[in-house]
């Protein structure tokens, strides 16, 4: 016990130092990469219409983010992402609870889920566009479909991980099944759910963009297609930056929510992407 505390006491400043070195190296690598890239374009090693310089991309991104039409495309894609994700969350948690807690539902549904899980969801997207049209609906369905499985799988393990002693405690208090679910099973499953949510947050962006590639008049994905058609490479890169920013913001938001909801869990920190 004493040695463990001592070891931890020693390693804390060590970790800090390693973190600092890591941050410094990471920053140095950033400068090296983007500086090299910038120089390569300036020196004419790469034609700017094939690979634009980082500074040109940044300037274009700022312009895009202050232009009403591009901003409305951002909002459009974000709507697809969030609505699709929310749908997947509700369905995934609901079905996950059912499968985890009801043996019959488990036996009936699990074979289908295993089978469906192996289908590459992106390959289904063209069919979904045919079914749900070129509007926002088909993209929402694609996002929901891609997000559904990571959430479902984690929900099932989450709801199955309940400590039987906690259930016994609730039974001793004559709790109803609903009380047991809300007060014990759901909080217990939260760290697992968060792990699924981190993954699907990233999948969401992919799903929305793929959906728009296949057929859409609006959104960041369709903007990429339009700009590619007019050989506007800087414009494509700019959208790429915006999509990356969206991904980062969503990830940070999910992590912050996760840290609040599953603050008590030790596994939470390690399970995200």
């Amino acid at each position: 016990m004493a040695t463990a505390t001592a070891a931890r006491g020693e390693s804390a400043p060590g970790l800090l130092r390693r973190l600092d070195v890591g941050t410094a190296l990471s920053a140095a690598l950033f400068i090296l990469l983007f500086g090299g890239w910038e120089l390569a374009v300036i020196w004419g090693l790469m034609p700017a219409f094939v690979l634009p310089s980082p500074s040109d991309v940044v300037v274009r991104t700022v312009v895009d983010l202050t232009t009403a039409t591009t901003l409305s495309d951002c909002v459009y894609t974000l709507t697809e992402i969030l609505v699709g994700f929310l749908g997947a969350l509700i369905l995934g948690v609901g079905l996950g609870a059912l499968i985890a807690l009801n043996p019959l539902a488990d036996r009936v549904l699990s074979p289908y889920i295993v089978a469906l899980q192996t289908i590459p969801k992106v390959a289904v997207a063209p069919i979904l566009v045919i079914w749900f049209g070129f509007g926002i609906e088909s993209k929402i369905v694609i996002v929901a479909l891609i997000d559904f499985f990571p959430i479902l799988v984690n929900a099932v393990s989450g709801f199955r991980s309940t400590d039987p002693r906690q259930i016994l405690l609730m039974k001793s208090l004559e709790a109803t099944d609903w009380q047991i679910f809300v007060k014990v099973r759901l909080p217990n499953a939260t760290p697992f759910l968060m792990a699924g949510i981190y993954i699907s947050m990233i999948f969401s962006v992919i799903g929305a963009v793929v959906g728009e590639f296949i057929g859409s008049a609006r959104g960041l994905g369709s903007l990429i297609v339009q700009r590619q058609a007019s050989m506007d490479v800087i414009g494509v890169f700019s959208i790429l930056v915006i999509l990356t920013l969206i991904g980062i913001v969503l990830n940070i938001a999910a992590k912050m929510i996760g840290r609040r909801l599953a603050f008590w869990s030790e596994t939470e920190g390690a399970s995200g992407i």
Partner: protein, 270 residues
Amino acid sequence: MVAATIARSIATPARAPFIALDGVAKTYEARFGGQVQAVETVSFEIGHGEFVSIVGPSGCGKTTLLKMIGGLLEPSAGKITYQGLAPGRKKPQLGIVFQDAVLLPWRTVLQNVCLPIEVMRKDRAEGEALARRLIELVGLKGFEDKYPTELSGGMQQRASIARALVSDPAILLMDEPFGALDALTREYMAQELQRIWSSAAKTVLFITHSITEAVFLSDRVVVMTARPSRVAEIIPIDLPRPRDLQMTTSEVFGRQVAHIRSLLSATGEL
């Protein structure tokens, strides 16, 4: 000899009967086939307001027995009956203290202690006031807003004792509740438990591996045999109340402790 001990084990308590076990047995189905006979056959009664302890070798089925008495586990044979229950109730309202604290890690100490109030939909304000008093009673004042991971094992267990008391249960089932406590806290908690018990007219079923604790607290001590378990003997403890620690050094006390110890070593343990 065996017949004699069984005959003796059906002895009824002096108080009005509350819970009666009649030929109760439990055989577990093992996960990969096969069976584990935990409790062979047990019959005894617990009186209203009585303090009964169970001592026995580890793995003899004490926890199993406690769960069956609380109606949380079906006996495989025999039956358990309750008397004098409030109308409409099939089993008494329970307060359980498990071997480990079983606190919900996402709730603070106060929220954990208030759990029974929420589940039973009792008055919140009243419940919280009682919860705060009980938290103070178990020596956790100042820790109301701490989370379980911030507490030592002993402190967690004390929080779980407060939780068991907050619903004012008809019977308190305690499964080696003081196992995680240090010796001093343990003595203190035993005295507190005696005080709570005598002031609140509660029935207590108390499992312990401390013979001294059992004798100190109980009206009667049920000594179990090794698995598959039966009742080896039921020993009435007729020391006057309230009992203080001074009494544990008395001759009568020592004799009863020695008697129980000899019973347990006869069953092949300790």
